[in-house]
Symmetry: C2
Subunit: 411 residues, 2 copies
């Protein structure tokens, strides 16, 4: 008898019929003798509907109230799902983050899990119930509802799997697994059978929508076997595993892109010690993540600082920077929301040079200007104009032969 955590995203539970189908699928696992904890997202579209209403109420909706609002989405699906299991003749119970006791910090809309209690879940599992947990949400020790940020249901699932020492964490989605590139814009994209935690971390952080990055980090830390697979088929999906389990790694495992970021440039920044801290400390204090940062010395004592934030944080960041540039005596702040971040990822890069320069050459051949570059041991990322996204993905996919097994040549 195995203990399995199964997470279903918004498209998998996007209608009452879909919920009933997923419930039947979960029941099959229970009837095979497994204990099953189900983690659910809100019905697809629901979170956006709620955010739309929030935006009508307040220019920048209060974060604490946003969490109060958004947490309802998952509450609806878990209740309906538990009913569906009961309607199919088995037993189930739905639990909110508060009721499981998924304790988080108080950083509203992007809270982090501090602790998960497992007593309540185990009690229900031992009583033969399917336990249906609201993804995406937690509660502070003071009883305030928090949410974990977009895609937080993956994090809930992996964190629960780790806390319960589950045998597997299955992430169900509307695609067959993790692909070498987004199949919607690259017809040659191929499903990956196995990928390392590190590669998946990069892909997730760089825009692959299939898994949320924190969930992969958690899975890596606690060695939770992660299986990304389709809600609508019985096919094996993509296993995310430790590197030791993969015999030969690809040079480039995948290409990904993100249109979720915006670029901000502060011009004419006095080149003095402490000025970067004055710019980035308030942003960090507001819980806004800054991704790439580039500093160009322009002339004499002045520099330009360019960095990227999520578009959802763009308005808040620009508002904060108006004060900042007055404080530090900078010239101006400019922003650009029409950018994309394009990345190639592969653990094979570690031992092979020339990957980045091939990438730059491909872009140059297509006439695509690279605005910012960022590299790590196993990835290269470029910021480009958003309109070139599809073209760049297809060209790179072809250049690195990702439609075939692109094992590195012996050197």
């Amino acid at each position: 008898m195995a203990l399995i955590v199964q997470k279903f995203g918004g498209t998998s539970v996007g209608s009452t019929d879909k919920i009933k189908n997923v419930a039947k699928r979960v029941l099959r696992h229970q009837q095979q003798g497994h204990q099953v904890v189900v983690v659910l997202s809100a019905m697809s579209g629901q979170t956006d509907t709620l955010l739309g209403m929030a935006a009508e109420m307040q220019h920048l909706p209060d974060l604490r109230e946003s969490d109060m609002l958004l947490a309802t989405g998952e509450q609806v699906t878990i209740a309906l799902f538990a009913m569906a299991i009961k309607g199919a003749g088995s037993n189930a119970v739905s639990l909110l983050g508060d009721q499981v006791r998924i304790i988080t910090d108080a950083m509203h809309t992007k809270a982090r899990i501090k602790e998960i209690e497992t007593d309540v879940i185990r009690k229900h599992l031992d009583a033969g119930r399917v336990v249906v947990v609201a993804g995406f949400q937690g509660v502070t020790s003071e009883g305030e509802i928090t949410t974990l940020g977009r895609g937080g249901s993956d994090t809930t699932a992996v964190a629960l799997a780790a806390a319960l020492k589950a045998d597997a964490c299955e992430i169900y989605t509307d695609v067959e697994g993790v692909y070498t590139a987004d199949p919607n814009i690259c017809a040659q994209a191929r499903k990956i059978d196995m990928i390392t935690y590190d590669e998946m971390l990069e892909l997730a952080s760089l825009g692959a929508k299939v898994l949320e990055i924190r969930s992969v980090g958690l899975a890596k830390r606690y060695k939770v076997p992660l299986h990304v697979r389709s809600t609508f088929s019985e096919n094996e999906g993509t296993w995310v595993v430790e590197e030791e389990r993969i015999m030969e790694s690809m040079l480039v495992s995948g290409i990904t892109y993100s249109r979720k970021e915006a670029r901000i440039t502060i011009t004419g920044v006095p080149d003095q010690p402490g000025v970067a801290s004055k710019i980035f400390q308030p942003i960090s204090d507001a819980g806004i993540l800054v991704d790439m940062i580039i500093q160009n010395t322009r002339e004499g004592q002045l520099t330009d600082i360019t960095f990227t934030v999520l578009r959802t944080d763009y308005a808040r960041t620009m508002e904060m920077l108006q004060k900042t540039i007055a404080n530090i005596g900078a010239e101006s702040v400019k922003g650009d929301e029409s950018i994309a971040k394009l990345s190639i990822v592969g653990v094979g890069m570690r031992n092979h040079s020339g990957i980045a320069s091939t990438m730059f050459q491909v872009m140059a051949n297509e006439g695509i200007n690279i605005m910012m570059i960022s590299t790590s041991e196993i990835k290269v990322s470029c910021i480009i104009a958003e309109k070139y996204t599809e073209l760049a993905v297809r060209s790179l996919h072809s250049a690195f032969a990702l439609d075939k097994n692109n094992l590195p040549e012996e050197e």
Copy 2:
């Protein structure tokens, strides 16, 4: 500086624009120096939408899961409302039943309030915040979410007003107050300026939709001054007060009807001691309220027992009775969902005879058969076929001259 509890129903907060308008109205009261606690229902239609989805999941949706599901409706409105107050430049905080600590029993979907803590609310009020509380919901001492039944937001509002010793409890609605009859089916209906708790109790229990009965009972017990008024105008509505405050009472204050009940008849019941208990104890144990009960001895040892329950409990009751009639050896159980309960209410009846017989005469003149009769000190109710509802209301309104002040003649 007064402390006012203001309750807004689903139609008052039925859209984002309406929520913003109501928020402005509440803010005006706060700016006049009052402390305001707002109690909100779910957006109109939302509860029905959720119930519709639940019915697709499970034939008789699990009650615990129904509460989990339904409680989301109010959670959405309070979060949006708090944002709207903040968006208008003031301060607010939304609180769930669990966060206020509105402690109820564990009777899911029709829980009763056991205790309300006021510390959290007072703390926020003293900090200058509008406190926005989710109506309709509470929590058991074990942390399970409960709901108070349809119209439970009124109960939440009055219970909060009592617990906080508020100066007034204003119930906002989409009509101008309490009417002598439903204006939708009786054009002559007139707004009542003042009515006693007892009359309002009868009207509410007999189908007047403007106030939920438990809220009126609570208001009476704790002498909470209740003001039923329109969300969309500044006019005075109907005050619900103690009888001593009304100089002269009408003979009949109002006529009301309910189409929410169903009639059930068990035929051929052996006329033995304990048989009624065998019928009604399981129904009561399931939390189903039985209204009128009539027993007709038919022949020898057999009787027929007829009673009414809410239509929402009808399917469950009929299902339970299949077992019961086998147990007690009764003949059959029959049901009729096409009935209406018609009632006339007035404290003036206490000292005046002939009201009931006038009512029966009016019905006879219109050819309406009376199936069941029930009376109290200040009301007379009849069960009739549903199709005669409008006709009966209009005829009685006219017969008792409710469009004028129908003070009783001196005797």
